[in-house]
Structure formats: structure tokens, C-alpha cells
Subunit: 467 residues, 2 copies
């Protein structure tokens, strides 16, 4: 493996700690090997690293009690939501206790007049939207997977709607967090804005469990738009599709979703999701607003697309038609993997300033061709963010090395263009090697903060920053 | 004084340090008493606390060199922008060296296609918008005062446009920061989103110079809207005005500005800004968008206002008419002070969830009546944020105590409603006493971060968190 975690195992978890956790949780403390295995991997090619035990927590107080016991015995702690991350964030690279938060699945409070709610961190985004349905509100952030809200906060997730609604950074108002010593703090609040002290909310968002465990999240919600229209449009070349995106952003059209799938991905998605689109670079759009505004947006974007040789928009206005399109988009990763039975995904996640997006994508397409690898491309291109899912044989070291080299070229190009190694997946341990190239000496400041909040390096050790 | 800083003076600044700073800066190191005085106070009632010297820096490298010298001699450092803050943030409560950043006034880079720019921290918002004018872009955050971009980032400023465009938290993409030991780091980047490590950008935004000195800021810009309309509308009661605001927000109208001035403030503003409006609770609106969208927004809000007894909208569509309205809004603080010659402003800045805004304002109005104080009210009510500028005689201890009591009642009410003691002014030392009530044990986490990044407590000591 070219990429691996370099952290040492901490104190082995003692039978005494297991005993005390069992006293606390009963059958909700598991050392069943298949449960351990299931909690030791995410959806990527990173190998399974099982924890020593899994603690299924049901409340903030219980998480706090588990963390206090782990502190007493010097054990590492790895929080676990739905396991849909992609950078090895849940791998127990130093052993330790995994805290599974899926039992913390209560929507605690919804305020329709304030457009906000508070949820336990194990609530998934689909569950939340289901529970919100009658209120006329929705939670817009959609990373594809039915991830937990806590996991999405921990990785600073975003996805298809971010071009209009922002990322978890923007949509979280406050958090409840269990610190490394078991203390519980509340960050932020319910005011729309505050200048009262350091922004701990934003510090924990994207910290991937390395500074504390997020147990509750207060979210800003949005009103379900009066009108929604989706459309699909294919282009002769990927440059034409990307130029359509750039012009749309620069024209200030408040498009809600604008997703690119290259011809390799369209072929995979047609097969996997039983669709019938042209095997060409394609944009999926969605427009939200009043009926007048949606019509105005669609007309403006339609004109831009035609300028760049876009085929006629294929509209999907009825909810079931729209769902079909977005289900296909969300299945893109699995559609790519299905092209090669037994293949695993090495995800890439660069994000660049939009003025560099066309160059970045063109040069990346050439790199893929040169590499001989299978690498469908999808992108939240309105944000300048796109992914290759390089489909690899995880047992073929030469192929992994080739994929790593492709990934590294992409990342260094993105950084050189003023961009980032990860737009939304997070660092885990898969992208730690790129942080110094991207942030230089600021990594030392991150390390100082990590040591201030977790001096024993027990909170998801071996992730984000090496200490 | 009921509110005062409790920090001890650090090592007195030695003649040797002054000598070495003079070697570095020549005439740009000043110990002239009037220069010191001018740098020891802001625009509020907080008393002047002059620094020992003022260093006029012209580059990040120079700030770094000054900070290294101060580190060597154990001197405190206070960054200074335009001095328009309101919570004693620039007062040299522990003595030390003030670094005046107004000489760092270069717009370093503008990218029209990416809608972003990088500026030195001494650039003011009006200067930036002047320099951007030909590009079709603008920087939307407008706290009223012509503050420096660095100061606005340091205090997490917002203002009249935040309801649509967000605060400094949302509009900053990256920073250059000089740390306590003189090292220079770059946070964030130019990508629209990133999940690459801890969000240091958001940590420094709102840290008020206590963790490092912001010397450069990369900003997200917005396109100048195709159409802009402003309107003024008065209401029979303040509840009617506030209910109009709440209904507008809940209807999802993307209003760009929505400002409340109570009848006391309208009277003051009519006199000071030579206006002729009814002396009634009044809303100032601004709508941005396509001509169709602006018309649609204005119609919806007009209907809502009529439901609550609003008088007809008085429109201001020509730029000079709009400027007249917003100049009056921006002069509101000075208009209030002018009601009482020799009076100084004790600013308040609470922000609550919008569903509590009507109750909060009604109860606050009663408190003002009970207090017998002169306290005009203005508010960025679309965000749930409003201010009293309590006009006090700074030499009258009894009156200051009465004003403090009014302020404290407001803050505790806001916190009880899920809100904050400061929506946008920051903590300085004027609001430190409220942080524990608002954040509880999370203040300990802030303190841990402060000590990790500034172990000797030399960066703007005595502000935000006590160490």
C-alpha cells in the first residue's frame, strides 16, 4: 500500500476496560469479530482495521461516560456514523474503542418559524428530510450517501446542493461535543450570527473526530422551494460542458445543482441505473425558486448551454422523474465500481477556483488516458469540485501505485492552481500526506490545537494531523 | 466603571525594545502622546488606554519582524485598523506595542471570473468597493463604519447586507496571519470549499487579535445586481414592524437589507441626517436581483407590510436616493449621540432566533422605559440582531451602572432565548463578562486554544478570554 497510517498502537485495550464498558452498556458493547470488521472500514479501497470493541451509545451522557473510561485506561476512541466516508477515517489504525452513534437517532427539536432544528448525530439526512416533510422545510446538504448528520459535520461534507445552499460549514449553527476527557460542551447557539468568542463550531466541523465527538447538531434549514425543475443536457466535449458551468456561475444564476458526469461515467450509469442517455459529457441541473425565477434561470442556462453546443435540455419536472435522475447521480460511485467486478474505489476530491476548472479537467483527462486506469469522473462543478473514482484491484500493488501517482498529480495541480486536495471528503489518513503541500506551516498550528484539546492523542489518532 | 479590564500590565516596554523597533521602522515607530491616545480608544464609551508605542507596518514581513521583537522582549501586541470597533478591542489594557495596519492598504489581486480578491488587511471596505467598481463586482459586507477588512475579519463583522450575503465568516476564503512568535501562516485557499484539515480561517475570524494578526484576506465577492431598489416604510407600532420582518424571512424572500429604526432613532436621524420621515418605527429595505425578481420581492414584501399596517413604501431607485437612505442608516449611531452633547455610546448587540424577536424587542422597549435612559434602537432585524446605543455621560458612575444593568438584562434575555450577547461587534473586553453565561464550559476550550497559540498571553491580552 502506498498510503498507510503510520500511527503506533496505543496501550492495548485491556480486558478490564472491556469489562467496565460492558458494565456500562451491557449487550451494547460488542467484541463480535464481524461487528468489529464492519466498523473497521469505509466505502473506499482503504483496508479494514477493526477496533478492539464497538460501543453502541444512545445519549450524550453515555458517550461522555465511555470517553471517561477510555481516558482512564488510555484507549483510543473512533466515532462511527454510517461508515460511508472515503478516506479511512473510521479505520482503527491504533486499535481502541469505536463509538457507534447510529442509536442516537432522534430529531430533538424542529422550529418552523426559525427554520432550524436540533438532531442527535446519528440521524441520517434522509431520515431528517422524511421527518421534516410535513413542515415545508428541508435540509439541503446531500452528499449522495445517506450519511449521518454527525458524520457529515465531522467531515465538513457537502455534495450536489452546495453550489446554492453551502456546505456543513454554512448550515450548522451549533454543536454538542464530548471532549477527550469526557467533558461535554455546547458550541454556537441558535442565533443566525454571533461574534461571541472563538468559532468552536467551525473548528469541530471537519475535525473528523480528532478533537472531540459530535453528539448533537443544530442545523439551519431551508424552505422547500415553490418550484423545482431538473434537466439533463449532453455536450460534444467536456470543455463545452465545463465552459457552460463557468459561464453560468459567472452570470450569477442561483442554480441549485449543476453536476458533471463524463462519458465514462455516463456509460457506467446508463448500465447500472438503467438509463438511456447519450454516452457523452453531460450536465445534470436543478433549479429552485418561484415559478418565475425557475423559468428565468432555466432560460438563461439553456441559452448558455446552446452557445457551447449543448443538446436540448431533457426536463424532469415531476418528483419521480427528478428522483430518477438524482438516484442515478448518487449511484455513480457504485456504477463505476460495477464496471469491474471486485474493484474498489480510490476516490479523489480536488476543488479549484472556477477559472481554472476547464484546464484542470482537461489536463486530468489526459493524465487518465496516460495512466491506462479506469477512472470515471463526476463533479460538483459549480463549486470547482470534481472526483475521479479510480477503480482499482486492491491486491495489485503496481496498479495501486499507478493510481496513487495519478491522484498525486491531480492534487499537486489543484494546489498549484490555488485549490485543495479535498473539497468535501475530508482527510482521514488517505490525504494526510498532502496537507503540508497545501497548508505549509499552518499544519503546525493545526497540530498545536490538536495537542491542546487531545494531549494524549487518543481521539481518532492517526487521522488529519500527525502528532 | 462597572466594566473594566482586569489584566495585569506585562513587562513594561523597555527603551531597548523601542530603540530596536525604531531601527526597524524609523519614523514609523511613534511614541508621540497624541498618536498613542488616538490608538488607545475606539468609538464607544470605553476609556482610552494608550499603548507604549505605535508601529506603522507596511507589509506582512514587517509585522512579523515587529512581532518577533515584541516576543523577544515579552511585550504585548495590539493590532489596530480604523479604530471603529465598539468593545474596547484596541485598548492597550496591558500596555505594549500597537501595530497600526492602515499602511497595508493594497488590493493585491482581483479575479473577476472567480469572483474573489486578496487584499492587505488595512484596505477599507469603501476603498475596496471603489477599486472594484469597474469590474462589475462588489464586496457586500457593510457594518456602517468604513472599517478595515482586517478589522472586520478580526471581529467577525457583518451589518446591513448580512441577511442576504452572510457575515465575514461566510465571505472570507483565506487569511495570512502572523502568529505570536512571528511565524507567518496562510489559512484556507481560493477553492470555494475545502475539507482539508482544521478550519483555521474561521478560528482567526472573530479572534480579535488574540491568536495572531491578520495581514492579508482573500474575499469572496458578489456580482453587482442587475436591479436594486430601496424603500422606506413606517408602522403604527414596533410589533407591526417586527412582524413584517418575521413574515418576510419565513416567506423566504431573499431581501438584501431589512433594517429597523425605532421612533427614538427616527427622530434622531431626521435631525442629524436632515430627513423628513415620520417619527414612527420604520423599516428600511433593499432588494437585489434581476428586474423581474426585484419586482416580485417588492410586491411580496409590500403585501406583508400592508397586512401589518405599514404605510406605503417610499421608493428610492436612483443611486443617489438610495445612498441618502443608507447614509442616514449608517449615521444612526452618531445621530443618537448628537441627541446629547458630550454623551458617549454604550453599544449593545444582541441577536436572537427570529421567532423570539418580537418578544425580545417589546420587553427591551419596556426595560428602556423603566430605566429612564436615552437608548435609540436600530437593528439588522432580518438576522434577529438589534442594538441599543445607550447614550451615557461617561463621568456619571450612577448612570453607567444603570446602563450596565439595562445591557445585562438584554443579554441574559437573549441568551435565555437561545441567542447571543454579540451578533457582530465582538467581545473586546466589554462583553467578556457574558461569555461564561453564553458558552458555559466551552469557554475553557477557547482558553485552551488561546494558550496553545499564545502561551505568554501577549496577543491583545485581556480581550475575548481571560487567561
Amino acid at each position: 500500500m502506498a498510503v498507510s497510517a503510520t500511527v503506533q498502537h496505543l496501550n492495548p485495550v485491556s480486558p478490564e476496560l472491556i469489562g467496565r464498558l460492558t458494565d456500562l452498556l451491557g449487550e451494547r458493547l460488542s467484541t463480535n469479530p464481524s461487528v468489529l470488521d464492519q466498523h473497521g472500514h469505509d466505502e473506499s479501497y482503504h483496508p479494514t482495521e477493526p477496533p478492539d470493541a464497538v460501543a453502541f451509545a444512545q445519549s450524550t451522557e453515555e458517550v461522555s461516560a465511555i470517553v471517561r473510561l477510555c481516558a482512564e485506561y488510555g484507549a483510543a476512541i473512533i466515532p462511527f456514523g454510517t461508515g460511508t466516508s472515503l478516506e479511512g477515517g473510521v479505520a482503527a489504525v491504533a486499535g481502541g474503542i469505536c463509538i457507534d452513534l447510529t442509536g442516537m437517532n432522534q430529531v430533538l427539536r424542529v422550529s418552523v418559524p426559525d427554520l432550524d432544528c436540533t438532531v442527535q448525530s446519528g440521524v441520517t439526512r434522509k431520515q431528517l428530510n422524511h421527518e421534516l416533510h410535513e413542515t415545508g422545510l428541508f435540509f439541503p446538504i446531500d452528499p449522495g450517501a445517506d450519511a449521518s448528520i454527525g458524520g457529515m459535520a465531522a467531515t465538513r461534507a457537502s455534495g450536489t446542493n452546495a453550489v446554492r445552499y453551502g456546505t456543513m460549514r454554512d448550515c450548522v449553527l451549533g454543536l454538542t461535543v464530548v471532549l477527550a476527557d469526557g467533558r461535554v460542551i455546547h458550541t454556537g447557539g441558535r442565533a443566525r450570527k454571533s461574534a461571541a468568542g472563538y468559532d468552536l463550531t467551525r473548528l469541530f466541523i471537519g475535525s473528523e473526530g480528532t478533537l472531540g465527538i459530535i453528539t448533537e447538531v443544530t442545523l439551519r434549514l431551508s424552505g422547500i422551494p415553490e418550484a423545482i425543475s431538473a434537466a439533463v443536457c449532453s455536450f460534444p466535449t467536456i470543455e463545452d460542458a465545463v465552459n457552460t458551468v463557468i459561464m453560468t456561475i459567472q452570470s450569477g444564476v442561483p442554480v441549485a445543482r449543476m453536476e458533471l458526469l463524463d462519458e465514462v461515467q455516463m456509460d457506467a450509469s446508463n448500465r447500472y441505473s438503467k438509463l438511456n442517455y447519450a454516452v457523452l459529457p453531460t450536465l445534470f441541473f436543478e433549479f429552485h425558486g418561484s415559478p418565475t425565477s425557475v423559468a428565468e434561470q432555466a432560460e438563461t442556462v439553456g441559452e448558455i448551454a446552446r452557445e457551447f453546443g449543448g443538446a436540448d435540455f431533457q426536463w424532469a419536472n415531476r418528483p419521480e422523474e427528478r428522483n430518477r435522475i438524482w438516484r442515478a447521480r448518487h449511484e455513480a460511485y457504485y456504477a463505476g465500481l460495477a464496471l469491474r467486478p471486485g474493484g474498489k474505489g480510490m476516490p479523489t476530491d480536488i476543488c479549484v477556483p472556477i477559472s481554472r476548472l476547464a484546464d484542470c479537467i482537461t489536463e486530468t483527462k489526459q493524465d487518465i488516458a496516460d495512466s491506462g486506469l479506469l477512472a470515471p469522473m463526476v463533479g460538483h462543478v459549480g463549486d470547482g469540485n470534481f472526483h475521479l473514482s479510480i477503480v482499482v484491484d486492491p491486491d495489485d500493488a503496481e496498479e495501486i501505485a499507478r493510481a496513487d501517482a495519478l491522484h498525486e498529480r491531480m492534487v499537486l495541480r489543484a494546489i498549484e492552481m490555488g485549490g485543495t486536495c479535498t473539497g468535501e471528503h475530508g482527510v482521514g489518513y488517505g490525504k494526510m500526506r498532502f496537507l503540508a503541500a497545501e497548508h505549509g506551516d499552518a499544519v503546525e498550528t493545526m497540530r498545536a490545537i490538536k495537542l491542546a484539546l487531545d494531549p494524549e492523542n487518543r481521539m481518532n489518532p492517526g487521522k488529519v494531523v500527525q502528532v
